[in-house]
């Protein structure tokens, strides 16, 4: 297990280095002079030069690259062009709202998706199974932002059952404000997980070792939960892991539609105001988060399924 963990972590680290390199390439390719853009067309050359040297733009490329890696690794993601605050502080300040959204969405997918998947597999071919199948495919197909806007239209503005704006104050209020946005983001995952789990369970049930377990008279309940689900849930866990990472970035849609604070709104506003340090800082943080979550998911799977520890190349 330890060798696998070490190798897998090494791979993640390599990926992070490449991501940072790609990010640097992107930054370096930004057309125009960021300092001039930030200060506006009427700024004097002296002011621009000063900002340029403050932003480190006058140094040769390789020095900039090293500086970039060094500052990121020490947690310095630069400063907000407008307010001067540390980008990292700003991002960590907004993260909790987005994390609320992510875990709210995952909550639905686990609470509804997993039981639906089990039910569909156990009642294969029944009406429940067929309806779930069509609905699952449908919610996966329709993009989350469309679902979000329609939910807003129908339940917040039309029926006025839920608030249309903001994140709320105390925990209960925050949960109340979370309902619609988390459903909008999570519905697709409910369908995806229900489908995956159903397919996994059916596949595992057909395998020879389940036949063996039955031949030894083990009770059906024990077979399903201890023997079948233990294996069938593994692909679902990978998917959940990927989902958390992907939700971090698609949260921007829910944050805009429901006017919530968060990482997505932060970066969206930053683009409009050309606040590049925030954009690059956020992209970096979310990508790193994504890589980290995938790493944790992979390690958890390797811990649960000993066969995985042998291979590293999927």
């Amino acid at each position: 297990m330890l060798t696998y963990a070490a190798k897998r972590s090494g791979l993640a680290l390599a990926v992070v280095m490449v991501v940072m390199a790609l990010l640097f390439v992107m930054i370096y390719l930004i057309p125009g002079d960021p300092a001039r853009v930030a200060l506006g067309p009427r700024a004097s050359q002296a002011l621009i030069d000063e900002l340029r040297s403050r932003m480190g733009l006058d140094k040769p490329v390789w020095v900039q690259i090293v500086d970039f890696y060094r500052s990121v690794l020490t947690g310095n993601l630069g400063n907000d062009v407008l307010s001067g605050e540390s980008v990292l502080t700003i991002i960590t300040g907004q993260m909790p709202y987005t994390l609320d959204l992510i875990f709210g969405s995952m909550f639905w997918s686990i609470l509804v998706g997993i039981p639906l998947g089990c039910l569909s597999a156990m009642r294969r071919g029944s009406l429940v199974d067929q309806v779930t199948a069509v609905l699952s495919v449908s919610v996966i197909a329709v993009p989350a932002f469309v679902i979000a806007v329609y939910l807003l239209l129908i339940f917040a503005i039309g029926l006025q059952w839920f608030p249309a704006i903001g994140a709320g104050d105390d925990p209960l209020d925050r949960a109340y404000h979370l309902v619609l946005p988390s459903i909008a983001l999570g519905l697709g995952w409910v369908g995806y997980i229900a489908r995956m789990l159903r397919a996994s369970i059916l596949e595992v049930q057909g395998e020879n070792h389940v036949r063996t377990a039955r031949a030894f008279g083990l009770p059906e309940g024990k077979i399903v939960f201890d023997y079948v689900l233990r294996i069938a849930i593994l692909p679902t866990l990978t998917v959940l892991g990927i989902g958390i990472g992907q939700l971090l970035s698609s949260a921007v849609f829910a944050e805009i539609v429901f006017a919530r604070p968060g990482i997505g709104k932060l970066v969206y506003d930053a683009i409009v105001t050309r606040n590049y340090p925030i954009v690059t800082g956020t992209v970096l943080v979310t990508t790193l988060f994504f890589v980290l979550v995938n790493l944790v998911a992979d390690l958890m799977i390797a811990w649960l399924d000993p066969r995985v520890r042998r291979s590293l190349h999927r």
Binding site: L11, A14, V15, V18, V19, L22, L23, M26, L29, I30, P31, V134, V137, S138, I140, A141, V142, P143, F145, V146, V149, Y150, L152, L153, I157, G158, R195, M196, A199, S200, P235, T238, V239, I242, G245, Q246, L248, S249, S250, V252, F253, I256, V257, G264, V267, Y268, I271, R274, Y276, V279, T280, T282, V283, T286, T287, F290, V291, N294
Partner: protein, 293 residues
């Protein structure tokens, strides 16, 4: 020889026809095909079916659906039905173009990774993994910061998001075929790498990748609509379903019709292509079922 060749074409045509029949016999396959047909016809005949999508008539803003305006009007009095149909052109052209580009680049990269020396393979794999590590939305935001919003930004995002998966598939298949007996035979006859790749490996790997790509089309449509919704894609006044939805959202308190009009075609096409893609996959290769996006 000629007798065999002359029976090959009708046999392939027969297989295609029976596959088509199988797809259409599934209820979801039929529904999907109808929806896709609806979208394609709507986009294609937009000129005949609807008035000018850009003509503004501020007096007529926020009208409900009527015989004059089948889906009502938006905040600038533009006919929503026309905007939806013309938006369909953008959606389909950008999506299909971007998918084609991803396929070309992805498969090419995969072939190189699979057939080339190990160091190149490892390097490319690392790049593929790194590209796939970018969450799509963040990637879109970052690229638009660089390039400014446009259809090309959408295409680039789609390529970066999808090409690595195709590349990985192509690479795996290439690696397994590389040492196949018939390839060894060709090599011993003196065929160069390029010829082997082009005439022997490529035709054999293309099938499953095409099926996966066709199942990705609804995702690409969603990316285009999503980016336009965020103002990162198609620029006004060109109608795109995303921008229709976005301006509808801006004025959602005033009128629901733009929101309904913007969302409806997205739902129809994503459902349609998804149902159709699933039916196609079930017909051609059920083994491809389940795979994370």
């Amino acid at each position: 020889m000629s007798a065999a060749a002359s029976t090959a074409k009708p046999a392939a045509a027969r297989r295609a026809k029976s596959a088509l029949r199988r797809v259409l016999s599934e209820p979801l396959g039929l529904l999907g095909s109808l929806l896709v047909l609806l979208a394609v016809l709507g986009a294609g005949f937009a000129g005949f079916l609807a008035p000018d999508p850009i003509a503004m008539a501020p007096i007529d803003r926020f009208l409900a659906p009527s015989m004059d305006h089948l889906l009502g009007t938006d905040n600038l009095g533009r006919d929503l039905f026309a905007r939806v149909l013309y938006g369909g052109r953008i959606a389909l052209v950008v999506s299909l173009g971007a998918t084609a580009a991803s396929l070309l680049l992805g498969v090419a990269a995969g072939l190189v990774a699979g057939y080339g020396p190990p160091w190149l393979d490892n390097l490319l794999l690392l790049i593929f993994d790194a590209l796939k590590s970018f969450p799509t939305v963040m990637l879109a935001l970052a690229l638009v910061t660089l390039l400014g919003p446009s259809e090309w930004a959408v295409v680039l995002v789609v390529i970066v998001a999808n090409a690595p998966s195709y590349a990985r598939m192509a690479r795996t298949q290439t690696m397994s075929l590389r040492h196949a007996q018939f390839v060894e035979a060709e090599r011993s006859l003196g065929a160069g790498a390029g010829r082997i790749i082009a005439s022997h490996i490529l035709p054999n790997i293309v099938g499953p990748i095409l099926i996966v790509a066709s199942m990705d089309i609804p995702v690409v449509i969603a990316i285009e609509a999503g980016m336009s919704f965020l103002g990162l894609g198609v620029r006004p006044p060109t109608p795109s379903w995303g921008t229709i939805l976005e301006s509808g959202f801006e004025y959602i308190q005033d009128s629901p019709w733009a929101v309904i009009a913007g969302g409806l075609p997205i739902i129809i096409t994503t459902l349609g292509f998804t149902f159709l893609g699933e039916a196609l996959r079930d017909t051609f290769d059920p083994k491809l079922a389940t795979g994370p996006r």
